[in-house]
Point group: C2
Chain length 337, copies 2
DNA sequence: ATGAAAGCGCTAACAA
DNA sequence: TTGTTAGCGCTTTCAT
């Protein structure tokens, strides 16, 4: 159990500091010596003590994932977690999760959290990723952070995907099936998603020469309930849409529920598509056409970048990762039964 | 930033050791002194440095959640995570997540993980919670652990719920609606759930005086695909069941998919119920009748108990937490349309 | 019930 | 490029 750095140093015939340098990837160790020390490390099965490293180096080896609402978006968070864990694997870093509800005293609560756990790096997702006061405060604390899908340009490191183009793609798919009257249950205001997905919807209409009808866009907040309500509003019209593009899968499920309650067949009477490709899009019947949001990749990249930025604080990186439209059975030509 | 224990000691006019005792809840500090020191701690906004505590006390302040498969059961894991985080809140402990795929060298991989991260406590969920070799190894390493829903009696601390009775309850619900021929798509073998849920199903039949027909039980593995396959097998019979009890919600969704493909109405032509009360049970249409598995409570209790067991290593605790049957629209009287 | 001194295992300055 | 010497901030002996 207690193999310490000095045991390795003795075994390799060097000083502890040199072993430390190898451990920390310091460049000024000759290749030959480095190899010998690495051999000793393996031979003794040495693993450095994180507390000791942390204390001496004033680091915690913790990267924190800060998110908002575990309830309504648990599969989104879960996918991010998988990505974060992938990135931490093979590093001395551990991931810790910190749900914080948005509130006025958010900044001071984050202060408390930082004081207590002293994470070396943070990853923020919306809506915190859009909270400029919070980002400001993290800068003041000189903490490295990365955001995911932030709409703020303030963040030095942000990983997202082209949500606008993705939304346009999926609406274009509906148009290509023959739909002309397409409803949209919008995203939660404040999220970048709100504008991105709405603009993508409008882009697709414009390119197809379909006039934008504001009344076909109803408010939503990413919840199932807002899908039900949005579908009610849209389907109660005298000229109901033949297809509905919901801002996310949960909302799309709400739309499908309302169609079900009205005895409307999906996709026969109404095509529905979502966004995110959460597990429910495969579990529901018919399978839901949606956009695969590359959560894992985004989270993995975010962690990789933010860990790199610990060494290089000036680093900036704004990256889009690829997405995919997943065509399933919930969309078809209008009027087809 | 750098408020240290000696600052607190100076402020309160005591030695650092006494402050340390207060921090660690040591009983041998007089109430008056304790109060004074606590006031100093608050006044200075002191938060102990986890790395320093960890190094000096040979602890990591980490509790690890060990699980198996993030894919097929992400909402189950997510709920556990919420419970684990709740329990860690207001403690100096941080939760870390460690997915490990089951394999022959699982034990040695856990050894590596323990060597690297030195968690003070572990929480195991099935199937790891049933891995006696693994539990054995943790005992050897003198590591505190708690299991969730373990079928092994080896675990000193286990939190579960009465799955057998819950299964019986939900099947009794089907019987009370008038169903007599009820199919069951079984759980993954190896999980405690397999026997518990199957036995509960049999209990309910027996109590209702319905003969157990082995051929109405088809194998499953908690996946959507096994629900589809199981439903195919059951619905292809000359005397198909009027209701199907699926081992979990994902499987139930597969059953509903197969019903959908055959043009069978749920619940008109077929009642379906699941188990777990994952988010999909609300998102799907009709809403899925299921058993609410109290994941959060189980995880919270497991962490609370295992942290307590650090101080009291002999501690044993085997607890069942309450569950609830959630009646939704996927079950109705047979033949009703 | 409280205090003094000695580390825990590592890294950061500084030296060589 | 490598080694020496001090700590990092806390808890633990062992005193008292």
């Amino acid at each position: 159990m207690p193999v310490r750095i000095e045991d390795v140093a003795a075994h390799a015939g060097v000083s502890t500091k040199t072993v430390s340098r190898v451990l920390n990837g310091h460049p000024s160790v000759r290749a030959k010596l480095r190899t010998r020390i690495e051999a000793s490390i393996r031979a003794l099965n040495y693993v450095p003590n994180p507390s000791a490293r942390g204390l001496a180096g004033n680091r915690s080896y913790l990267v924190a994932l800060l998110y908002d609402n575990p309830m309504s978006s648990s599969s989104y968070i879960m996918e991010l977690i998988v990505g974060v864990l992938q990135a931490c694997k093979e590093t001395p870093y551990n991931a810790v999760l910190h749900p914080f509800e948005a509130s006025d005293d958010l900044v001071s609560r984050i202060d408390g959290f930082v004081a207590q756990h002293r994470p070396d790096a943070l990853v923020l997702v919306p809506p915190h990723a859009n909270n400029t006061r919070l980002l400001q405060r993290l800068e003041e604390l000189d903490l490295r952070y990365a955001t995911i899908s932030s709409k703020s340009r303030q963040s030095r490191i942000d990983i997202g995907f082209d949500e606008r183009r993705a939304a346009a793609d999926i609406v274009e798919h509906l148009i290509s099936l023959g739909h002309r009257r397409i409803g949209h249950v919008a995203s939660l205001k404040g999220h970048g998603a709100h504008a991105w997905r709405l603009n993508g919807y409008r882009d697709a209409l414009r390119r197809a020469g379909i006039a934008y009808d504001e009344s076909l866009v109803v408010p939503g907040d990413f919840t199932f309930a807002s899908g039900v309500a949005g579908a009610k509003a849209l389907l109660d019209r005298r000229d109901p849409p033949t297809a509905i593009f919901a801002a996310n899968d949960d909302t799309a499920c709400g739309v499908m529920r309302e169609a079900y309650e009205r005895g409307l067949a999906v996709p026969g009477d109404l095509s529905v598509c979502g966004f995110d490709d959460t597990p429910v899009s495969l579990q529901i019947s018919p399978g839901l056409t949606t956009v695969h949001q590359p959560c894992r990749e985004m989270a993995r990249l975010a962690v990789e970048c933010v860990l790199r930025s610990i060494r290089d604080p000036a680093m900036r990186q704004h990256t889009h990762v690829p997405y995919q439209v997943r065509l399933r059975a919930s969309t078809a030509a209008p009027g087809k039964r």
